[in-house]
Amino acid sequence: MPVNEVVYSWRTSQANRLEWEYKLSLSGSNEIASKVSFPDFDLQIMPYASLPSWVVSKYWVNQTFVVPEGRDYISSEGIYEWSTTEGVIADITKSGEVIPDSIWIEKDCISGSGPCDLSNAFTSIAEGLRGEYKFDDISLTRLYVSPMDARLHLQGAQAGLFNLGSDRQLRLHNLDGGAYLDGWTLEQASPDPAQPGQPLEGLYRLGERYLHFGGGRVRLFSAQSPESLFETLPPSDAPTWQAFRQKMAGVQPKDPAHLAAWLDGLESEIMQLSLSLAGVPAYQDGRYRFELFLGPGYQVSGRDELGLAGLPPGRYSVSYDGRSFRVEPLTPPRLSLSLTARPDDPLAPGRLYHLDLAATNRGLQASPDLQLVVRSECAGQGRELLRRPARLPADGRAAWSLTWQPPLGRQCWLSAALYDANEIALAQAVLDPPSTDLAAAGALPLLQASTQGYRALLAFILLLLIAGLAGLAYWRRARPEGLP
């Protein structure tokens, strides 16, 4: 299976210098059938002239989109940051600085050793650059301009990051996993790029509502505007480049550091609360869910769509299904884990064990990132049988299954646990099956399988013959001496 990597950079200005405005990094598995002939040999490559249209017409597995915002990016080759296959460079000016482990994450994705979960590979980007990514999603590459920030985005992007400088960054979200970005969080960046920053302001589209927080207030707006101003394919030739250029000329990007201003003249405010929002809203099973902290003496103005009136101060979980809000006191994650044998296949020596694992979160707060680990412990020797990433949403559940063949003649027990990032088990389950003995392993089935039935008798007769013949040969030599 071929693996292609494409880095496609372009600009809209006609300046006579190598300055780039947009970059797509694409990886996929597209056959290249065309050949370019040379006097002595042929190369199986795309002809140079048709390369842009080939790139635009193909489906790609992993895609990143990088835009220098308000800065010049001059290079002889294009924009280097946020490649999809060679390890992620966050800032080319810091030579060789590749985001740790990103090369392995990308290689695992391509080789199939692991899932294409590249979210941990794109955790930082150079100042003045905005990057967005979309992985594990075979699709054409399409771009759109959002009315919210009036900037060009990668359609279907799963997340993004905009480094505003001065340790501030704008984190881009796709809450509902749809075609358009629908959340922006302005953060004070953490010194550790892998850790989330301190939220300063946030704007999220929850279906028919916009939720904004910042300055000690939470505001709710209607959401009537479309999610994109226009959509386009990347330019692939002179006419499409001209069209793209003309469309972009009319777009005036909004200030990324003042999210509240984005809604001015666009949407109308419904209510305002003097309280704070904890975390980014999550979307699950058709419902948005976020946490509110109602401080002492909090105030509500406007139409109380949330129904907060009369609620005592405290932490609350708010869910919204597109029609109405529901507010409940927040309960922390309450995880439980079970490890059971399948009812129709009871544990029995000498058989495969078909095991089911089920994890449940009965809290109204989502679990942190977890690792499910199943281990066997046989005669003092431990072995990891299964490891899977897990994250349990509020009031959510997850299930796995495992078929396990135990070793012979050893007492084993199985343990399963959900570990957090500090390797602390938040939920555990143990199963102690009966040991498998030699009889259960089956000498007779083994004999039958290896002789296919009738030959067992013939082989036995042959063994007797061999022993007899060896004895006879020996006896013939010993006989003259008169053996008894």
């Binding site: 199943v374 495992l402 392993a441 030959r455 042959l462 061999i466 060896a470 040969a473 013939r476 001496e481």
Partner: protein, 525 residues
């Protein structure tokens, strides 16, 4: 009993030899009855690739597929395949085990020369056929049955020529010897060079013995002079073969970095392996007592022959009684092979050489230990006093039992051994399906090579549409064959298998299943 008496009491040649040939035939028949066509092992499967490449290319050393140690066996099987029209897999399985019988006559001739007694030769051969380490390689579709047979022939021709005074017959014996010696080198270069070293060591021992007994003219000089010529000639043949006639032999030699490693490979019947040879005892059998039981013939031969050798050596050292010339030659060869065995084990265990060498000289040692014991049995045990007359009978029964036990070891009896060589029709059906459906992909076939090897032989070594991937799973292998026997095998080995539930069960015939690892990314199929 005198030597003459023994010769006089020896049964007639044809009947005795026919019995031994019949026994050899039954031994060769056993794996075919035990497993039918449903078995195979790695060396036979690997050599099939060489044989096919040889047939297709018409070259003795086909590029990329040459058998590094010599061309004789692949060339012989290729010839047999063309001559008989039989499928290669059939030849490797059926011929591989039944051709064991060809060793009987050269071994018997050799032992007769070593012991100068047909009675002792017959007994020696019976003892040898009860040695599992000797029988095991002879039952496989590899060069070793011919290599061992050629060693016996070379020894026979060499010893016989020492007695020959008639010039034309002597010339015939010498020509035959060098032809056999070349065939031996072409069969397995490294076993041949080890064999030559043993002759050189025997030469030195005979020279020392001649000095010690102060009787060089009577029995030692002719062997010493002849052995010197023979050793030099054989070294030249080997040198020319490795460096000029068959370049693939150099690859294996020069892949080793140190000169000591090369020397060991060349002279101590060692081979490159990836695993620790001594770990086989722990993992290879269901228990240590079972291993000791099926290996009992080895230990008995080792112990008894060592005692006899000690007695002969002490007799010579203390009493200065010169033994018969054939006895002294046998003593010298036994000493030489015992020394090489000891040396190979010492260097291997000590780790002085590369850790990927494995000694395999025991069968050569057994070839020389058997006549030592056989001659003693013929000379002493059968002439025991009346009250000890039950002893030879008991030895006969023991020999029969040992032969059966050894056969269990040599054929890796799955009830006792953890190294299985059989596969089942259900596994075969699943592989047939995989070939049709998983073309171009790789399929994991279990923690050992048993299924792959047997299937490769079963399909006559043709290039398979599916890539069979035994042992450790390749990174890009996404399909797994799990049969009831694979699970039973893993269970027996104390191993565990875990199949995550998200895998897809793509094939099931009741006793063998093929799982497909659920694609994690769009790059996978």
């Amino acid at each position: 009993m005198s030597q003459d008496q023994i010769e006089r009491h020896d049964p007639s040649l044809p009947a005795g030899l026919l019995l031994l040939l019949g026994l050899g035939l039954l031994l060769g028949l056993y794996p075919l009855l035990r497993y039918g066509i449903w078995w195979g092992e790695t060396d036979a499967a690997t050599l099939m690739t060489t044989i096919i490449a040889l047939l297709e290319s018409g070259a003795l050393a086909p590029a990329g597929h040459a058998y590094a140690n010599g061309y004789a066996y692949p060339a012989l099987v290729a010839w047999l395949a063309v001559f008989t029209g039989l499928p290669l897999g059939f030849l490797q399985l059926l011929g591989g085990s039944l051709l064991l019988v060809w060793v009987i006559v050269p071994a018997w001739l050799c032992y007769r020369e070593f012991t100068r007694s047909r009675l002792a030769a017959g007994l020696s051969l019976l003892i040898l056929l009860a040695q599992p380490e000797f029988i095991f390689p002879l039952l496989r579709g590899t060069h070793e049955k011919f290599t061992r047979g050629l060693m016996f022939l070379c020894l026979y021709l060499l010893l016989r020529s020492l007695r020959e005074r008639h010039p034309p017959r002597l010339a015939m014996l010498l020509v035959s010897f060098y032809l056999c010696a070349y065939a031996l080198v072409a069969s397995n270069t490294f076993m041949a060079t080890s064999f030559i070293l043993a002759i050189l060591l025997a030469l030195g021992l005979l020279w020392l013995a001649a000095r010690w007994f102060s009787h060089p003219g009577a029995f030692a000089s002719p062997p010493v002079a002849r052995f010197l010529y023979v050793t030099l000639s054989l070294f030249i043949i080997s040198y020319v073969f490795i460096l000029y006639l068959y370049p693939p032999a150099q690859n294996q030699l020069f892949i080793l970095k140190s000169i000591w490693d090369r020397t060991a490979l060349l002279l101590l019947e060692m081979e490159q392996v990836a695993a620790n040879p001594y770990s086989a005892v722990n993992a290879g059998w269901i228990s240590l007592p079972v291993y000791l039981l099926v290996s009992l013939a080895n230990w008995l031969l080792l112990g008894f022959s060592l005692l006899l050798w000690l007695k002969q050596t002490l007799d010579g050292l203390l009493r200065r009684l010169p033994p018969a010339r054939h006895t002294l030659i046998l003593w010298a060869f036994y000493t030489a092979f015992a020394f090489l065995s000891l040396l190979s084990i010492l260097v291997d265990v000590s780790g002085a050489l590369a850790a990927n060498l494995q000694h395999r000289i025991y069968p050569s040692f057994a070839m020389l230990a058997a006549p030592l014991l056989g001659a003693w049995l013929a000379e002493t045990a059968f002439s025991a006093p009346a009250r000890w007359r039950w002893l030879p009978a008991a030895a006969g029964v023991s020999l029969a039992v040992l032969m059966v036990l050894s056969l269990f070891k040599a054929t890796a009896e799955p009830l006792l051994s953890n190294y299985w060589v059989f596969y089942t029709p259900a596994e075969r059906r699943s592989l047939d399906w995989a070939e049709r459906t998983l073309a171009g992909r790789s399929l994991w076939t279990g923690p050992f090579g048993r299924i792959r090897d047997a299937y490769v032989i079963h399909t006559n070594g043709r290039v398979l549409d599916v890539i069979l991937d035994p042992y450790w799973r390749r990174n890009d292998t996404r399909d797994f064959l799990l049969s009831d026997m694979t699970l039973l095998h893993a269970m027996r080995l104390g191993d565990q298998m875990a199949i995550p539930g998200e895998n897809l069960l793509t094939y099931d015939n009741g006793r063998a299943q093929i799982y497909h690892r659920r694609p994690l990314t769009p790059f996978q199929k």
